[in-house]
Amino acid sequence: MSVAELKERHIAATATVNSLRERLKQKQQLLVDTDVAAYGRSQGRSAISFVSTDLVCCRTLQGHTGKVYSLDWTPEKNRIVSASQDGRLIVWNALTSQKTHAIKLQCPWVVTCAFAPNGQSVACGGLNSACSIFNLNSQVDRDGNIPVSQILTGHKGYVYSCQYVPDQETRLITSSGDQTCILWDVTTGQRISVFGGEFPSGHTADVLSVSINSSNSNMFVSGSCDTTARLWDTRIASRAVRTYHGHQGEVNTVKLFPDGQRFGTGSNDSTCRLYDMRTGHQLQVYSQQHDGDDNDIPTVTSIAFSISGRLLFAGYSSGACYVWDTLLAEVILNLGELQNSHEGCISCLGLSSDGSALCTGSWDKKLKIWAFGGQRRVI
């Protein structure tokens, strides 16, 4: 086929794709008969009432000398790992605020970290395009550092996010600036599957975040600079199961909803959204009016759901940390305005495995732990 014929085919195929996408959008729109908040109000749901002392900062974890970029809880035992601009990972005992490990990294440009399900290893990744694994029980070297036990190389761009597959110490998923996600065998250091890339249909820009479904660990969601989120089946790397549109800006963060059937996203367009995984429906937009001009619209950097899903915690580049009532789409508290709150951008947050505490990390170099400090009234 000649180049001219190919060019004609390309133009025709592009027009067909655009037309099909439009038809799909219109058909999906016909199914949008309500959203979560309107449904909640129709059922007589009343808003949760929080006073400023209901959620209190009960621990401040100090020790990093640079911005905190990422944190992760262990599935048990209340430990947290954090990664910072200072080029260190720190493992904290969240109950006592003690540091149990301080790992100085060879590549200081770390942006993500994760705890293994058994709490014995941590993983981190960043601008060296690799993911490093550290066994916390390893003998320290002459300089008092824990040596790296495995380096996962293969990405052709920065590693923005990493997460261990729940209940599988040897499987890890990373997302990267090379527009792909990779499932790794941590023991051998080998890539098991690559999701996306030039040929298999996938993200068309940097992938900033992943969240694995703990109810079905074969499924995970990714969020990207191409403004979409995508659902993947680890058994089928050739294409995304579904693509979720709606955001007007880069999707910085994705998190599975506790029921394992929905997920939330946070974006540069300053909104969080709730999507239904199976149908692709956008169920709710969480959007707040912000003061200031359009150039100062804060971006959503990180999100987490409470254990019931009733609360959505969203960290913003402005330093705000809104607590959304997910069922009524209302902000019920701003942790950023409470006493003892952070003094900078909230870059990461995460909920403990039992749902009793939230940890936030910030550019003010600190991590803070928030728990319920109110009284539970009896009648």
Partner: protein, 190 residues
């Protein structure tokens, strides 16, 4: 004159680069293959979109999903949300028992938070220890840096939180106290 002009023209021709009569055809193999790959990708995408269009026919409306969300959230307890429970006269003992259990365990159904009851240790600037929550001070703040001595934390080591900063013997190497693992970025010399 005409001969001179002809000669000048010939010399000018000689200095200019030779021009072919018609432009040479270069076979742009790299671009053609790339274009072909893009067309293949688009064909695949068309297939996926057609499948998705078919699947939309059988999809449930958004309201059904909203109902599922509402039901799940409404039936799942949450330790971070104020709740109300009916008081039963006979549960005084069980409330006391829960309070004792909650001191050491993570629980939320009993109405207490282990985060509030956990003992907290702090080291005062003068080096002495204080603790809250009934935790013995000597257990809370005992640190021993084997072969290294602990010094009172100073402004030069603001990153500590355990209250123990270890000095190096010759100021060229940073060592971490094996017990408290302070995160220090430079050597503190004594």
């Amino acid at each position: 004159m005409a001969a001179a002009e002809a000669l000048e023209e010939k010399q000018a021709d000689a200095t200019q680069a030779p021009r072919p009569r018609s432009p040479r055809r270069y076979t742009d193999l790299c671009g053609r293959h790339r274009l072909q790959a893009r067309v293949q990708l688009l064909s695949r995408e068309i297939g996926f979109l057609e499948e998705e269009l078919q699947s939309v026919e059988g999809l449930q409306p958004v309201s059904v999903c909203c109902k599922e969300v509402d039901k799940y959230v409404g039936t799942t307890p949450d330790p971070l949300i104020p709740t109300y429970k009916k008081r039963h006269k006979s549960c005084c003992f069980s409330r006391w028992l829960r309070a004792m259990v909650c001191f050491n365990a993570t629980c939320f159904t009993g109405g207490c938070s282990s985060w509030q009851n956990r003992p907290c240790c702090t080291r005062r600037p003068n080096g002495s220890c204080s603790s809250s929550g009934g935790y013995p001070s000597r257990s809370c703040c005992s640190v021993s840096c084997s072969r290294l001595r602990c010094v009172i934390p100073r402004l030069s080591c603001p990153g500590y939180s355990c209250g123990c900063v270890c000095s190096c013997s010759n100021c060229t190497k940073v060592r971490l106290c094996p017990t408290c693992l302070c995160c220090i970025s430079h050597c503190v010399c004594e």
